[in-house]
Symmetry: C2
Subunit: 204 residues, 2 copies
């Protein structure tokens, strides 16, 4: 079923488009394209328009840079949330993941990327300036850094730490260690090593 002649360039193109999605192989792409062919035109139109609309009409929260259809996002607008804590993340994905845990009640700051000299992304290309502007307005006591532990993530965390060190805020970072339910045997050495070095008082 791979790279074969589908007898139609239109079908071939639809397959190619589905196959361009992350995690979708050509066999699945063919199944999806044939599914599209079976759908009423109206549904195909709805399907296609959803992405064009998303791309054209998406707006970002002027406060935290989170995706938001109209002005300030629901999280920044929610007055039941703790407005003195701001969690700094790379992307919208991370906000959704943290929200999903139900363990965080503060606000966010979405950088929209991380510093990566190899990809030509410097500090001014991501929303660090907006973070210092927020801190300058006052009312924030803690900044939680929740960036990845990659070289780029560490660089970005360090850069932000230096940029905000003059503000009267506590800078914290999310805990790293052996995951809950993970076997020590299968945990990588770096994680296990650091989790021993950063051991904490046992609270049963």
């Amino acid at each position: 079923m791979f790279r074969q002649n589908y007898s139609s360039a239109l079908l071939e193109d639809a397959v190619e488009q589905f196959a361009s999605l992350p995690g979708v192989g050509r066999k699945t792409a063919l199944r999806l394209a044939l599914h599209m062919l079976d759908l009423p035109r109206e549904n195909v139109e709805q399907f296609s328009n959803a992405f064009i609309s998303l791309k054209d009409r998406v707006r970002y929260c002027p406060v935290c840079n989170m995706i938001s259809d109209d002005g300030t996002c629901p999280i920044c607008s929610d007055h039941r949330r703790d407005r003195s804590v701001v969690c700094v993340v790379e992307s919208l994905r991370d906000v959704l993941s943290i929200e999903n845990t139900g363990q965080y009640n503060g606000l966010y700051h979405v950088l929209g990327g991380i510093i990566s000299p190899i990809d030509g992304i410097g500090p001014s290309d991501i929303h660090i300036r907006e973070l210092t502007d927020r801190l300058a307005k006052g009312g924030i006591n803690e900044v939680v850094l929740a960036l990845s532990t990659s070289m780029e993530g560490e660089t970005t965390s360090f850069y932000i730490f230096k940029q905000i060190s003059s503000f009267p805020v506590t800078v914290t970072a999310i805990a790293r260690g052996v995951g809950f339910g993970d076997d020590l045997e299968y945990t990588d050495e770096l994680t296990l090593g650091r989790s021993i070095a950063n051991r904490q008082i046992f609270k049963p």
Copy 2:
């Protein structure tokens, strides 16, 4: 990550659309929608247009009803193929599956469905008449029935068999039995029972 507030109706809609595809869950749908958001507008447009084009501009081969952008399909046009054998299948999917085996060199006839009284699909709703028209033109010696063994498939096979019995053609059906590499232990009783009843001379 399920049924949560994505803080954007546009994003929610894009996720819903991806989640409407067969085999795509909401978690994958979110990943795909965020991927769309990251793509340049041009790529999103290409993606969306592919399906509208497929739906609007798709044509079918006037001979075999296979999908074809322009007139007679590549299979019917290929003069290296055996034009005396026609394999009757339910859909385009089946043509692609059989082509993929590389074991068949004849032509096809795509019914575009099977007889299913429950769904209100009768003999005149699928391309059976076009098959008898092809046989009436002569030159075809064998019709291979390759429909499913469901109640509807069996009904359709029997109906076609009766419709074409007056033509001087051999009517065959694809072999059914225990799959290559399958354990007898895990084969359903019907398949195993029939594979014993239909046993063939062993040719080592």
